[in-house]
């Protein structure tokens, strides 16, 4: 074979880049609408009374979470997989017609599922379980998409040239296995068409309706084992996969410590799953499970900080790059938010803290400093790194990128600070008693007091959305306005100079 660098085929990566951006805009826009609905309830009927059923808070809320989790984040994961996978395994998608075909089927089937989800959630067809709202027909389609994703991962691994799996691949494998296991067990349900035929009836009621296999406390336990770990294998594991690839590539620095990455990978795998119980503190779940959830949440700081510190130390001696490159800024602030969020989570999982924090906006704030600051920043950074290479064009505007960074950072800070104050204020007011031992506040007092914080949160979210639109515009202009380079841009980043 000639001594020339491999050429990679980014067709599928590009397709998923597109959905990352579009579904990101949709999900974040709905989020901003929801935020303003809480501050100004009139926004619930923004399209008039006639459409209020479809624009009110409760109908839109699952659309927001699912669009951001399964739309934006998952597309980002797929897109980076179809980019990173080839490069670290040293094999091109073009070498296998089967894998290329699978990749395309993966994308189109994913789009079909997205369309089905949008229709069903607007119609109010939902199982009510958070991040698992889909009824059984969609669940089956999701499983098919996921199996194709798995075939793509293991297929590419099967024909690899580089025998040793790079750290990012470990995390992609874990993402595939983790979500597969969690999704299957949490969505165990019996379609009512089966139930009625067992009773000798047929054709009664909605064909897509189903009943959960688990009831009450068990259902809650399985759901939060899923819910918590969907965060693990959707918002942590694959995002760590990205940063292990993109930060060294972009900065030209080698990973600081292999041993630290080993410790944090296997530590994360073992510990994360135990921590789901912290969603159920003071519930009817047995006490020992709650305590396990608390303890393991605190232990979880170790592997989480292990990865984050490994990333920060990778920049050792090269900190001037953080000042010079907005792309490095995104990744370094992303790691920092990851550390921050994985410290905040365990604090909230301590029982006495959770007694105040649970059911309040502090939890919402925690989710968003992780998702906006860590997941969002890292996915955008990954796409910014990929764009010049997959389109063979330099990034359209570095100054737009820098402006976006600061606008979004301000947005995230406004978001989580306002939610902290809102959450703790409300948590304290709920439990306040007067001198005679009566409740000091009626529930509505604890709602109206939040108005200023809800408004600030809305502004924070809006800033983040504006930044995301700048990102979309920047990528769009990169695709269309810049001249095509003759060769794929090699190791040194076009931003680095």
């Amino acid at each position: 074979m000639e001594n020339r660098p491999l050429e990679y085929d980014y067709t599928v990566a590009k397709m998923f880049m597109l959905t990352t951006i579009i579904l990101g805009i949709v999900g974040m826009l709905i989020g901003v609408i929801l935020a303003f609905q809480l501050a100004f309830p009139g926004v619930n009927t923004i399209l008039g009374e006639g459409l209020a059923e479809y624009t009110n808070f409760s109908r839109l809320r699952p659309l927001h979470t699912d669009a951001v989790i399964f739309g934006f984040t998952l597309s980002g994961i797929f897109s980076t997989w179809y980019y990173v996978g080839q490069r670290v395994l040293k094999v091109s998608m073009a070498e296998s017609k089967l894998l290329m075909g699978l990749g395309k089927v993966h994308f189109w089937l994913y789009l079909v599922v997205v369309a089905a989800v949008v229709v069903s959630l607007f119609a109010g067809v939902t199982t009510s379980k958070e991040y698992a709202e889909f009824e059984w027909p969609i669940d089956i389609a999701v499983v098919v998409v996921w199996v194709i994703f798995g075939m793509s991962i293991f297929g590419l691994i099967g024909i690899r040239r580089e025998k040793s799996l790079y750290i990012s691949i470990w995390y992609y494998i874990a993402t595939f296995l983790g979500i597969a296991m969690l999704y299957l067990f949490n969505n165990m349900e019996i379609p009512t068409i089966l139930g009625q035929s067992a009773a000798g009836e047929s054709g009664i009621g909605a064909w897509y309706h189903s009943v959960s296999m688990y009831a009450g406390t068990n259902d809650a336990l399985v759901e939060w084992w899923y819910g918590h770990n969907a965060v693990a294998f959707g918002f942590t594991v694959p995002i760590v996969a990205m940063i292990y690839y993109f930060l060294p590539k972009e900065s030209g620095q080698a990973i600081y410590s292999y041993k630290l990455s080993l410790l944090s990978f296997w530590g994360l795998m073992f510990v994360y799953l135990w921590a789901g119980g912290h969603h159920l503190l003071y519930s009817t779940v047995p006490d020992w499970m709650q305590t396990m959830g608390s303890i393991f949440s605190v232990i979880l700081i170790l592997p989480s900080w292990g990865s984050a510190i490994n990333m920060l130390l990778t920049m050792k001696g090269e900190w001037q790059q953080v000042a010079a490159s907005p792309l490095i800024k995104f990744m370094i602030l992303g790691s920092t938010f990851y550390m921050f969020s994985t410290l905040e989570g365990p604090i909230q999982a301590i029982k006495s803290v959770n007694a105040i924090a649970h059911f309040t906006d502090w939890i919402v704030g925690h989710v968003h400093d992780g998702v906006l600051g860590w997941v969002g920043f890292m996915i955008m950074a990954a796409l910014f790194h990929m764009a010049p290479r997959v389109f063979k064009r330099e990034i359209y505007s570095k100054s737009l990128m820098a402006a976006q960074f600061w606008i979004q950072t301000l947005g995230v800070v406004l978001y989580f600070t306002s939610m902290w104050i809102a959450g703790i204020t409300q948590g304290m007011m709920w439990r306040a008693h007067d001198e005679f031992g009566n409740l000091a506040y009626s529930f509505i007092d604890t709602v109206t007091v939040l108005h200023p914080y809800y408004t600030i949160r809305g502004v924070g979210g809006l800033l983040y959305l504006v930044g995301f639109l700048m990102f979309a515009y920047n990528i769009y202009k990169t695709m269309s306005a810049r001249p095509v380079e003759e060769h794929e841009l090699q190791n040194a980043s076009p931003m680095g100079a």
Binding site: E130, S164, G195, A198, G205, V211, A215, L273, T284, F443
Partner: protein, 230 residues
């Protein structure tokens, strides 16, 4: 060992799978049967209540309202007795929620009335000044899906032995039989009887007329469900 694993993807994947499945086995399985038993006083949902529960789910009421009273004085003062595991034995899915933008509804049937719910759903701020809850006016015109509720009853009776048409022990020593129709027509007739009781306490003339015609608007079903939460 790790270097070897990193060159052998299959064994690597097996290793990851073992590491992640451990916690679920230890934490979830041991208590499974125990947690599924109902406490005395907990009865299955009637057809109309179940249809109302579907309306509750359809509109994601659980996005803003919890159904879980924690064992703190401030919560038992506000909402009533703290939740017991067995009270949820017939809840498929569970509806504990994760956020209280509005108050807990675990025992809302103890302190709110049909009349209150009717006004509240039409215009929340009219009964709770300052409320940020949106109005749910479409519930007054949409029809409740009794068919699906009945199909669900058949399913849970078949697969999970939910005791319909059987006496269920109540707290005062008596027993209660929750009826499930023998056919869909029978189930609808039973639901309509229940709906008439609710509609009697309501003021909306359109809803009253609809029930008199034999239709069941969503609002009637969801009020039946909310009243059953005790």
């Amino acid at each position: 060992m790790f270097h070897w694993l990193e060159k052998h993807p299959f064994f690597f994947a097996v290793g990851v799978f073992l590491a992640i499945s451990f916690a679920g086995l230890v934490e979830i399985l041991p208590n499974f049967a125990q947690a599924a038993r109902p406490v005395i006083g907990t009865a299955p949902y009637s057809t109309l209540e179940l249809a109302g529960r579907h309306v509750y789910i359809k509109n994601s009421c659980n996005a803003c309202h919890s159904q879980l009273v924690r064992p703190f004085k401030s919560e038992t003062d506000r909402y009533g007795h703290y939740s017991l595991s067995g009270e949820y034995a017939y809840d498929r899915p569970f509806l504990w929620g994760s956020k209280r933008t509005g108050p807990d509804l675990m025992r809302v049937g103890n302190y709110r009335t049909t009349d209150w719910h009717e006004n509240h759903m039409k215009n929340p701020a009219s009964v709770v000044p300052g409320s940020i809850m949106p109005a749910y006016r479409w519930m007054f015109t949409n029809s409740a899906d009794i068919d699906t509720a009945y199909a669900e009853q058949l399913t849970v009776a078949q697969f999970f032995s939910v005791p319909y048409n059987e006496p269920v022990p109540m707290k005062d020593g008596s027993s209660k039989v929750v009826k499930m129709g023998k056919s869909i027509a029978d189930a609808k007739a039973i639901a309509l009887e229940e709906a008439k009781v609710i509609a009697e306490d309501m003021k909306d003339q359109d809803v009253k007329d609809a029930v008199a015609r034999g239709e069941i608007p969503e609002i009637v079903a969801i009020i039946a469900y909310l009243n059953s939460l005790k």
